[in-house]
Amino acid sequence: MKKRSIALLLTAAMTASMLMGCGSSDTSTDTTVTQETASDTAVAADAPAESAAPAGDVDMSGTTITFWHAMGGVNGEALDYLVNKFNTENEYGITVDSQYQGEYDDSINKLKSAQLGNMGADLVQIYDIGTRFMIDSGWIVPMQDLIDADGYDMSAIEPNIAAYYTVDSKLYSMPFNSSTPILYYNKDMFDKAGIAEVPSNLEEINKVAGDLTSKGGAGEAISLGIYGWFFEQFTCKQGANYVDNGNGREAAATAVEFDSNGSALKTLTAWKALAESGAAPNVGRGGDSGLADFSAGKSAMTLGSTASLKQILEEVNGKFEVGTAYFPSVSADDKGGVSIGGASLWAIDNQDDVKKAATWQFVKFLVSAESQAYWNAQTGYFPVTTDAHNEQVFKDNIAKYPQFQTAIDQLHDSAPEYAGALLSVFPEARQTVETQIENMVNGQQTPEEAVKNMADGINASITDYNLVNE
């Protein structure tokens, strides 16, 4: 008995000492952070005038800024090239330490953890659906502040792209890699089936599906991946709101609106019809789940991001001619547009004007015409600045991939009011949408039930989120 109580006591003591150990190590990290800031302030003090504005008169030599991004593979290499170019060529003596943080989801989650310890980056690339979260986070400097302080001319930035990241007429983050979804189609199959006009909505796709399989030789009319982004785009194409409070743009959303305005039911009914007629069998979940069938010559059409164009052309490798068309609407009378996807650059507020100024210089470099033309040619994302259209690199690229013109036209045909929704729990909402569509396509529920389950699930998440994050 006594033995046991002593053992317990010792355990308790050790647990306590362990906790204290943790505590002291925390303090030590804090000190290093303070030291760093101190040395930074020293640099700042060297500057002739210590102005709060990140203008060109701040001495930034020797400043290192940390840039977190989520670009792997070919895109990552292209980004590394740009970072290296900036590091060797910039005249301010700024060094950018670029760090790959994994996929978009990983990247935003790491930022959340890092901000807890206040040891994050100066510039972070965050995906479109993280926008509302970032605005509400209180960790950031709105890009508009940096733009205004520098008097930067925004007129060249694509208005339909900037609209997505603009809330209360303030641009919160700088668009960097933007894409829209488009319809890819197999021209050879369309020719064989004798279809002259590419379908512009889901109902038309269902109508031509029979001809494509019987005459065109397609295994399936369209390989339609179950992807939350597509669902959002169908909502935008109807000109309808996804959530309330002006699509989450006037204030944080409190509930979804796609159930009450009927847009979701319309989308899902058409989707279900495609699945049931066999025109769009279940090819799995995710943005690129439909691509393999298309590249293999099995499906006559697929939906995919513009950023996939290069990959598709490489995989098809001349086996057939690849055509591109606008992302389909649900029915012929829809009057909306497409919204953009991709990611943007967020400046993190580290209470350090020198770093802020350096970050702005780097952002300016990344969205310059030359960088964007290179970026577009390497990755297939839009050039976010129209000035890039004058660059030779861009002209060569569009001559080589004329299909890309579709994407640019589609973007210009859209309008800022179809910029899409902002929602703090978007990543989760997307999962909910995909799960319910999947259940519907697999015949476990009707479109009505799917819409109800989506709305209930997402509304519960929103309520929960708003409850603990005021």
């Binding site: 959340k112 703090s424 729990v425 999962q431 697999n442 409850l467 603990v468």
Partner: protein
Amino acid sequence: MNGKKIKVEPYFYLIPSFLVFGAFLFYPFFKTIYLSLYKTNKMGQAKLFVGVENYTSLLTSKSFYNSLIVTLVFVAIVVAGSMLLGLVTAVLCNKAFPGIRFFSTAFALPMAIASSSAAMIFKIMLHPSIGIINKIFHLDINWISDPRYALICVAILTAWLNSGINFLYFSAGLSNIDDTIYERASVDGASHIQQFFRLTLPGIAPIMFYTLVVDIIQAFQSFGQVKILTQGGPGESTNLIVYSIYRDAFFNYRFGSAAAQSVILFLIIMALTLIMFRVEKKGVKY
């Protein structure tokens, strides 16, 4: 108690191990229980005390019961599959024959393959239009997007991955059985099948029990293959409880609910382990 002086010294030897356990096991464990009583904000900090609400909402959620059932089915397939595969391969390699080194390496190899990379390879192999499995068998099955097959595919992959280590354990167990008892049995006229059931199986029973316990725990914790192959889908047909915890915690940033699920998972595994040790005392003879 019995008049002996209590020695303090031995407890000091425990300090290093307790420090490590404390930092990496006890502290996270108690923190998990603490978090399971709260709702957390977007940073994952405990914000609102809700008592047992996280548990009650789990226990009334269809999705959670679905996760439990899916997990149990998955564990059953994985454990049965990996034990059977490990046992068969180990028995096959118990006899010396030319090329045995090649075969034993091949059978043990799965334990050296990371679950994620294996899942990547399976994802390509199982692809409905370009995958090799449909090509070879002239099938047109959408393996990982069809709720009827997805769970089985993930389970078979996991069973194969876990079979490598089982092969190793069973081989060790088999080589511990004295050859002379087989000789005596054949002199007495026992067939090979009789020998297998009367001599081999009882001989490796202790090691089989050990692998069973480890396999069950391991199967409960499978994660990488689900994340890569199915992300819990289609629908929620492969939403294993560990994956559901991951999604709630690191995707939805609802640590409270995730912590509550972890605690329930812990209770299930603990109960299973206790039951198995009970059974072992009765059933397994050393």
